[in-house]
Symmetry: C2
Subunit: 189 residues, 2 copies
């Protein structure tokens, strides 16, 4: 029984023990080792994941083989290739583990069933989706309007715990700067 | 009575006449002239808007006074400063009209009331929010991994109708290139 999942759901909705037990039955549980892949390019993604332990990264490999990091996910975050999941297209991204990871997973079919059976869960995911939308809009604004130094400061301020857990080269790729530039910036701060 | 709104809702859910009439009562209607502002920086945004006619742009003005365009919205799109709307923070963006515009608007209070009264509407906005999330993820991927020419091609392919309706200088700002670069690219294609 995932207490982390219950605690997470109850940040937005209240559930009786019976309700949570029923919701819990829609989920599966998964463990992955460091460096293992959760999702690989060209796969059809039919599952979304809630992270109960560990850290993952979602990235895109361009034509020149360069890796661009789209997002990280740690404890209490949801992750998937949502484009593949919602639009039924093959995944264009990879998601792999930066640490040993534990996840709760739910299939598209079960997500739809659970939300249609339980208005509170539909509400939960409406609100969660809106938070996700806002976070991505902030990232777009940041990409459009800030330089490397400002982006690093924003990231350190927003996610101080991630700075400790993610290798510098990976943070540099997320911020869209070279490793040398990032070292110069972080030494100055 | 906005038939556009009903048609739009019925792309995802089915509604009886009585249900739609009740839903409709939560909305207000608004007309704006070309160049008028819908949302201005520093405003607390408590409303989201569904466009039934016309075209708007959402943009961010940086410290140097340069305008960065975040998104457009035309018929059948939703627009607001969702960060301000969901997080209760003052708006950091401006939204203004590129054409004469007609909108259906709903306040946060009415949105929450409507969604809690009607599971179908909660479902509608859960799914809409997920589409919005996917569209923003695509934009992030595009900003991280494509050059000006590729971005223009993607944009023309995805929104051929917008290319006709939006001034070249505004498209250039959306794509993050100079007007000269955009002219060179679009003449070549």
């Amino acid at each position: 029984m995932s207490l982390e999942l219950r605690k997470h759901l109850e940040e937005l909705i209240s559930l009786t023990d019976e309700e949570f037990e029923h919701i819990h039955s829609f989920f599966k549980f998964k463990k992955l080792k460091k460096h293992q892949y959760l999702i690989q390019e060209n796969e059809l993604v039919t599952t979304i994941y809630f992270v109960t332990k560990g850290l993952l990264k979602a990235s895109f490999i361009d034509k020149e083989g360069k890796e661009h990091i789209i997002q990280f996910a740690m404890e209490n975050w949801w992750i998937s290739d949502f484009q593949s999941f919602y639009n039924g297209m093959p995944s264009v991204i990879n998601i792999d583990c930066l640490e040993e990871v534990e996840l709760c997973s739910i299939s598209k079919e079960n997500l739809e069933k659970m939300c249609s059976e339980n208005h509170k869960m539909e509400h939960f995911f409406r609100v969660k989706n809106s938070f996700g939308y806002v976070a991505l809009q902030q990232r777009i604004l940041s990409l459009l309007t800030t330089n490397a130094k400002e982006r690093f400061e924003q990231f350190s301020h927003q996610y101080p715990q991630l700075i400790q857990r993610i290798p510098k080269a990976v943070i540099a790729s997320y911020l869209g700067v070279s490793r040398e530039t990032l070292s110069r910036i972080s030494n100055k701060l």
